[in-house]
């Protein structure tokens, strides 16, 4: 049963990712990569240039990963990557009210779907993006160290079967990922911008995507 759930989650996630990628076709030509002109630091996220003093590629990549982790572990992202079945909400994460669960497809329970309240765009205080849903259970970040999350997002078994290139694409353009920078007013956005984040992510991947030690806490 559990295995079936995971498999179906993977399928769903893959389909969503594919759709998200397809939706970004038009933008593909101007895809942000680390080859583009480096973007300036913004909203508490350092720019690529800020890391140029670090000569060692791996050290530099690990330093960049701290910026990536600041996004992934931010409540805007982590609230919906829970270890259990229930997401969190708020700048100081609290269990979602009313009680909601991932359900069989990560889109909620019968009668009470994520989309029952969350539309395709934010509305007043209610967050929204197309296909609002919980990250599948194997993508849970709650309670994990930066190193553990890092290993997890690189692992195709736990990242929806993505290569690093596909993962980069996901981070740069996925609509749900973009929510992190575009929450309703009362919620704090993740640091930086999606463009800068994408650039840093690409740089980190280009440098071999090294992970901090699993035991090292934030």
């Amino acid at each position: 049963m559990k295995r079936r759930t995971i498999l179906s989650s993977l399928v769903v996630f893959a389909v969503i990712s594919a759709l998200a990628v397809a939706g970004c076709d038009k933008q593909k030509n101007k895809q942000t990569t680390s080859q583009d002109a480096p973007l300036a630091a913004v909203n508490g996220m350092r720019s690529l240039q800020d890391f140029s003093s670090i000569k060692d590629d791996r050290e530099r990549a690990l330093a960049i990963y701290q910026e990536i982790d600041a996004v992934l572990s931010h409540p805007r992202c982590a609230n919906c990557h829970p270890a259990g079945d229930t997401p969190y909400q708020g700048n100081i994460p609290k269990p979602h009210q009313p009680l909601v669960v991932r359900g069989e497809d990560n889109f909620g329970a019968p009668g009470m779907r994520c989309g029952t309240c969350h539309g395709e765009a934010n509305f007043e205080n209610v967050p929204g993006k197309p296909s609002w849903h919980l990250a599948p259970r194997e993508m849970a970040w709650e309670g994990k160290t930066p190193g553990e999350i890092c290993a997890q997002i690189k692992d195709p078994e736990r990242n929806g079967g993505k290569t690093l290139a596909q993962l980069t694409e996901h981070m740069q353009h996925d609509a749900l990922v973009s929510y992190g920078w575009e929450p309703p007013e009362h919620l704090e956005p993740v640091p930086g911008s999606q463009a800068l984040f994408g650039q840093l992510f690409q740089a980190w991947v280009d440098a071999g995507a090294p992970c901090p030690p699993a035991e090292k806490t934030r």
């Binding site: 609290k94 269990p95 009210q97 009313p98 009680l99």
Partner: protein, 797 residues
Amino acid sequence: MSHEQPLVGQELDPGLTRQARELILNLSDNLNRATASRRGFLKGSSAFVLGLFLLSGKTAQAAGATELTAKVADLETFQGGDATPHLFIQIQPDETIQIVCHLSEMGQQVWTAVAQVLIDELDAPWENVRIEQAEGHPRFGNQNTDGSRSIRYNFERLRWMGAAMRAMLEEAAAQTWKVPKKECKGALGHVTHVPSGKKLSYGALAERAREMKVPPRKAITLKKREEWRQINKPVKSLTTPSIIRGEGEFGQDVRVEGMVYAVIARPPQLFGKIKSVDDKRALEVPGVIRTVRLPDLEPPAAFKPLGGVAVIAKDTWAAIKGREALEITWEDGPNANYDSAAFEKTLMEEVRKPGTTRLKRGDVNAALDAATKRVKADYYMPHQAHSAMEPPAVMARWDGDRVTCRGCSQAPQSARRNVASVCGIPEDNVTLEVTWLGGGFGRKSKGDHFAEAALIAREVGAPVKVVWTREDATRHSYYHTVSAQHLEGALDDKGKCTAFLHRTAFPTIAATFTYGQNEPRWGDLRQGATDTPFAVANMQVESGKADAHVRIGWMRSVANIYHAFAVQSFASELAHAAGRDPLEFLLELIGPPRLFDPNKEGAEYDNYGSPMEDYPIDTGRLAGVVKEAAKLAGWGRTLPEGHGLGVAVHRSFVSYVATVIEVAVDADGKLTIPGVWSAIDAGTVVNTNHVKAQVEGGTIFGLSNALYGEITAENGAIVQSNFPDWRVMRMNEAPRAMEVSIIPSTAPPGGVGEPPTPPAAPALTNAIFAATGIRIRRLPVFDASRRDRLVKKEQNR
């Protein structure tokens, strides 16, 4: 059907006095309006409505009456009002029994209950009943739908009304057949001539029955209990069939031609005022028409509007967006220093020192000093908001110097007076129409929303519906008061309670009406403090002082909530200190069956407006519900690990309710409620199913507030605004099962809507103690510090 066509206009006797004509026209007008705007019960037959009120103008004339009011026969002497049947019943030729319900329908199923009683005594087929809502007008008698009194005040009155009408139909049949009346019997919609078996339907007799005199009481025979067909039966709700189709009109649903919508920015603090307002941006919001400034509120608050600025728009949404765009600078007013955290400390200090003695038996202090064991505990409960699912809403429409208001009210006559007073017009110029209420819980007894609508509509010159949002309802309620209590008890060497001291302090409801009132009134104390009927030799009740800084109002069971929480928690604490079973200890505190009268021990006690002779405080009945609830719950059974049972009992609104709750607390401290068992002794009950529903709902209301309810103020302004920062119980948090037992009784009917609430909180916290050893003395259970987990931490915070 328009209300320009009176039901009975063309049939009025030309000899009627002017007042009589007006009364009948008003009444029929009201009926028409109700009919037209309701579910359309009469739609198919409206063209044929003849309006055969079973009252002839001639009757009143014959009696020499100049006023067609209650002075017919001797049916005027009931607490709820007079009992002449013309007020509420109309029989139509097609056998329809048209009933006007003068009490507000807010989920307690008063429509069904009123109809049950009338139809039973009239003895008509249930399926012929059609029911409509009365407007607010003194001619209907007491219409206040609060204080758990609808049936308590009206049961006998309605019975006499129905029976009087049956007698008139029997008389009409007797005259038709030229036989003695005693040979004619009305039953199930027909009058039968018993010797011959001849029958005539009520509808066929209606016209003739109009000519009959309303008989005096001695000429009327009420049915015997065993003859009841509707009373004391689980008759199905008259409202459910409409509700499940989205039909029926609540205050929020009112729509009339040309109506615009208003949403009001009210001062954050009570008696705060507007310093300046800039509505430029608000007026730019698409759909916004204009703004209206309301008068500043001067003490006392009473039911007057709070003041502020109304945004008028073509729909509610535009009004809401317009309000957001208002730029208002407020002047804080006298309550800007009100801070709940600081006030809690002040209140706790107040109850820790001696107060004013309000009831005294024996010598509490001497007995406490002589105790083998002396137990003390302090309890605290914060403000609560009623939070009916329907926020208040009223439509007002002016026609010259007359105004019609239509909305949700539990006290339509009070709302009518309030509109008249605030608008400075005679009461007769106000028509107060009552919709269904999407819950009331006491909030809608206060007619401030009616006054707002009337003032704004007069200014706008068009029909206006004032819509309260959830934020408005949470921030501008008439709050259940904040309270602190100090209890002390003495135990002797056998573990028996020999002294009981109950000290209570809270801002009183009276402060809402008398500015500066800072001491509890008898009216507050008689609800669970001075009427505690414990068999303890030395007993003392004291009250302390407290200032009110928000509007304090009554909320479902009122002062009984916090008093029962403290007294019933403390009973369980004493049992624990004595090393005894809480149930057995509670029964010992209640003592042997006897009648208790607080008036005889120095307290002023009005028994909720009911006579002590009919409704004594009966400890036998109090113990009876405890035993029944305990039996249902299987008190004493072996419970799974982490489970606990708690018991509490309370008499309020002259009824008795005991509740046993089972809680389960898992290793993480997560609380669930596997079961609740309640027993109610409310005397005679009209609808067994709906009484159970009230016990279920009243218990959930109590549990919700006990678990989550906390309204706080900072700088005089209410902090909470909407769900879930103001949190109420949800499906997944509700008890999985609940069983209710109604104690069979032939006693007169007591209250039902409120009495189930007080025992809920202490039964819950007593169960939590039994399960975990955690004693909750400050509500709510899940305050900010607990984050939904019951983990042992400091005791007696």
